[in-house]
């Protein structure tokens, strides 16, 4: 979407985005606190599902795709909330805004950073899910990777907008899931269904349709989020 | 519970189909009227008190 504007400033937007993304990833890498926290949280969630269902391994196997995405969704709430808490400490956000960077670059960098984090988390969860739930990857790893990437993109774009809002509001821990969950239901549903197809075989060739639906919601979320985000942090 | 619901199901199938008519209709109208009345009440309770004729 950054190809539409005329050239000279488009490079400015991309460059600013990359610089901010690099900064965020560097902070992330130095402490690794957020990554560790959400990994353990997601692992605990996956475990909890198997405890809650008891020894019914058939049920776990059947619903593995849904549990996998629920674990990522719950972890994403933590990750998204943290991504702006870093900035509100020491008033970093003011510093970023004072820099001659477009607010849209902040959106792109934060959303991409969250996507990377969640995708990494998902990649780590896959082997755990295979071991815990006794599933196997029937179609291909490529398909699973694609779904993982698109699903995390779909969570991150609206999640970044809403995390920016809720990080400054009262009761932010309640607000973020309340705003985010209903919005991402369609994307999450597509991702979970497609994952189930990857794990259990795809007899009706529905995989590409779910993938398309997920892609469509991604375009909507990213387009709208990109336009509206500057208004949230402008003052 | 299982047996009770199964028995009820069998009883219903025996009698043909899910019966009903006016009961559902009255329920819908009553719920709607109650909702509208309750909302009107809530508006009245929340009415601005300080200056009823605030400038437009």
């Amino acid at each position: 979407m950054s190809t539409t504007p005329p050239r000279p400033r488009a490079i400015g937007l991309v460059a600013a985005t990359l610089a901010l993304l690099r900064k965020d990833l560097l902070i992330e890498w130095r402490t690794r606190a957020r990554l560790n926290a959400i990994i353990f949280f997601a692992l605990a969630t996956l475990l909890m599902f198997s405890f809650a269902l008891g020894p019914d391994t058939k049920l776990l196997e059947k619903n593995a795709g849904g549990y996998f995405w629920l674990a990522i969704l719950f972890a994403s709430v933590l990750a998204l909330g943290e991504s702006f808490r870093v900035e509100s400490e020491n008033a970093c956000m003011d510093g970023v805004r004072l820099a001659p960077a477009d607010a849209r670059a902040i959106f792109l960098s934060k959303a991409l950073g969250n996507t990377l984090l969640l995708t990494a988390l998902g990649a780590l969860l896959v082997p755990v899910m295979v071991a815990l739930y006794g599933v196997r990857i029937v179609t291909s790893f490529m398909d699973l990777g694609l779904i993982l990437l698109l699903g995390c993109l779909a969570l991150s774009a609206p999640g970044t907008v809403y995390a920016a809002i809720s990080s400054n509001a009262r009761a932010r821990d309640v607000l973020l899931p309340l705003l985010l969950f209903p919005l991402v239901i369609p994307a999450l549903l597509s991702a979970a269904k497609a994952t189930t197809l990857v794990l259990q075989g795809d007899p009706m060739n529905q995989f590409n349709s779910w993938l398309g639906l997920l892609g469509g919601f991604n375009l909507i979320y990213w387009g709208v989020g990109f336009v509206l985000f500057p208004r949230i942090i402008e003052d | 519970m299982m047996t009770l619901s199964t028995l009820m199901l069998l009883a219903q199938v025996g009698s043909g189909r899910i019966q009903g008519g006016w009961g559902y209709v009255w329920a819908c109208y009553a719920i709607t009227i109650a909702t509208l009345a309750l909302y009107a009440l809530s508006l009245w309770v929340r009415r601005p008190r300080a200056s009823p004729d605030a400038k437009e």
Binding site: M1, Q206, S209, W210, L213, W222 | V13, G20
Partner: protein, 162 residues
């Protein structure tokens, strides 16, 4: 180009992207494949793949195919693509209470599994009403009409099998 105009173009481009996404969700071929229910011919075309998964099957009740066993505990009927003769159809066994509108030629959606014996076992039966609302014809009382229909289908036990 002024910064304001440039911002407008960027915003417009992003909104176009969002609009394209919505258009794709709406008019892409997604609806063809990810359907709430399948028609009998679509399900039969899948062959072996349709077995054992929980699916929804939708169509019309084939005329004259409704059949209850003696104790009225299970209901058998055929769901067809359309009301015309020779449309593809599937035999359904339902344990669910049918709603009062259930009759020949009405649209239904059943949820359940299809097995190798060619019977669709359903535990959820829904009538799919059209968007048409008509007054009863001259001298026709809808309540009475339904009752007689109900008697007729009950009486047809054992005759509607195909």
């Amino acid at each position: 180009m002024t910064p304001v105009a440039r911002n407008r173009i960027i915003a417009l481009g992003a909104l176009l992207v969002a609009g394209a996404g919505l258009a794709f969700v709406a008019f892409g071929d997604i609806g063809e494949n990810l359907v709430y229910y399948w028609s009998p011919s679509e399900m039969l075309r899948q062959g072996d793949k349709a077995y054992t998964a929980t699916i929804r099957l939708g169509g019309v009740v084939q005329p004259g195919s409704i059949q209850w066993n003696a104790e009225h505990t299970t209901l058998h009927f055929r769901v067809a693509d359309g009301v015309q003769e020779g449309a593809a159809s599937v035999l359904v066994r339902s344990t669910e209470t049918p709603p009062q509108m259930f009759r020949d030629k009405i649209g239904v959606v059943v949820e359940g599994t299809y097995d190798k014996s060619g019977v669709f076992s359903s535990n959820r039966l829904m009538v799919n009403h059209s968007n048409e609302y008509r007054a009863p014809k001259e001298g026709e009382d809808p309540n009475k009409w339904r009752e007689t229909l109900s008697d007729a289908t009950t009486a047809s036990t054992g005759t509607g099998a195909k």
